[in-house]
Amino acid sequence: MDHFPTNWGRPRNDAYDSYGTYPIPHRPYNGPKDAFGEGVQRTQQPIVTGTSVLAIKYKDGIMMAADNLASYGSLARFKDVQRLTAVGEFTVIGASGDMSDFQYIQSMLDDKMVEEFTSQDGHALGPAEIHEYLSFIMYGRRTKMDPLWNSFLVGGFKEGQRFLAYVDLLGTTYSASAMATGYGAHIALPLLRTAVEGKENLLTEEQAQKILEECMKVLFYRDARSLNKYQIATITAAGPSISESRELATSWSFAEGIRGYGAQTQ
């Protein structure tokens, strides 16, 4: 029963349709509504977001980088967020996109790892399995039209094999030796490819770190949703390790020469 008398016997809206010219199917519905219909909400847009994640293959395994910022639109809302997370003994996941969806996925993966641990069957999930599982979750949710709004890089090292792959909110997957999500795919990836492709088995840890640092710097200069605080993760035969937050040394002396920013008034 519609309890609002204003809706009774008013199949049309005088403001838009004073002469009742709209065909019946196009008129607003004033009948009873499902009280909980509005309660079912799906992610239609990301809210608190992380920007690019970078990852490359190098001699000893995989190296990844992501900054510590979670933005609320253009507001730099949280400046101490970890976007790189270890899953099990062989894998690190780097997330961009919606941070609440990322936290949900972290807890879901942790549950999965506990389930695997308790079975005590002598099999541990490696990066390939975790990426496959994650891509099923992501593709499943997009198919329900209720996506988890993220792009992920999954890096790992198990049984002497390096692994690096991507998955996003559409369930799209791919693999390469240098990868980047979001803005980084436009700005940093060309630099990464030049530095890495063909040299995957030669790059040392120091060199790999330098490449990523350089790219994070370029991103900080050019990506307005980035931060000069970031972390680096390595996944090698020794397992995953995620660094403490580090600062980028940036130089702004050139800004003096920019009209409207520096000393000049004209």
Binding site: Y16, H26, Q44, Y174
Partner: protein
């Protein structure tokens, strides 16, 4: 007819809706000979102007005599291939043999049409050898319409490649020499050359095509290697030499 704007859209603000699809570029192609089939695809995966990877296979071995090429939305494509492979495995468990090519074609139609109202956004081309030993190509639209053909191109550069194929395979707009007629099937070396030329040309003129080329060659039972010898970088995928034989040829394409 005058379009009546939906009144709801005038009263309520419009909500942007999540789009569950994207286009990942690339092109696929298959040509059937009298006793062989070639199924090929490039290996570039892209979204918009970004190359995501230079190696993402679009052509998949289903059985020793059936190969499936999938093009369109990569996530749907990979999931679809996974499901087809699963159904073929179940068939093997139930019947102790591989599913015949024409049956795979009908299966693919059924599976695509099952999602008529939320389609797999993929164009499929199935190639292989029929039970009667002839080379065959089946092409599908995303919701399952299909037909058997001699050749078909699909994907980003379909509009560039298909007319070339019409001319070179079906001899469209070519007059046969007086007293001669056009052959119904071309020999394997000619077909391989046409496939390679198709992809190098598509790479030149289409930004979403390039990086690598994978050509699968299926040879009918008892047919010699005739025409394979000249090609470099051939890898055999079939384990037995007595039945149908399956090969893959990998080549580089321009990466710009």
């Amino acid at each position: 007819m005058v379009a009546v704007p939906d009144m709801d859209s005038l009263v309520n603000p419009q909500q942007r809706q999540f789009n569950p699809y994207t286009e990942n570029g690339g092109t696929i192609l298959a040509i059937a000979g009298a006793d062989f089939t070639v199924i090929a695809g490039d290996t570039r995966q892209s979204e918009g102007y970004s190359i995501q990877t230079r190696y993402a296979p679009k052509v998949f071995r289903l059985t020793d005599k059936a190969v499936l090429a999938v093009n369109g939305f990569a996530a749907d494509g990979n999931m679809f291939v996974k499901k087809v492979k699963q159904r073929l495995e179940w068939y093997r468990h139930a019947h102790a043999k591989d599913m015949p090519l024409r049956a795979i074609a009908r299966l693919i139609q059924t599976m695509l049409y099952a999602r008529r109202f939320f389609p797999f956004y993929v164009y499929n081309i199935l190639g292989g050898i029929e039970d009667d030993g002839t080379g065959a190509v089946y092409s599908f639209d995303p919701v399952g319409s299909y037909e058997r053909e001699t050749c078909r191109a699909a994907g980003a550069a379909q509009s560039l490649v298909q007319p070339f194929l019409d001319n070179q395979i079906y001899f469209k707009n070519q007059l046969a020499a007086p007293g001669m007629s056009h052959p119904t099937h071309l020999p394997l070396p000619d077909v391989l050359s046409i496939v390679i030329d198709s992809f190098t040309s598509a790479t030149e003129r289409h930004i979403e095509v390039g990086d690598g080329l994978e050509m699968y060659v299926v040879l009918a039972k008892g047919r010699g290697l005739g025409g394979m010898e000249a090609i470099g970088g051939v890898q055999e995928l079939s384990e037995r030499t007595e039945g149908e034989r399956l090969f893959v040829v990998r080549r580089e394409l321009k990466k710009d």
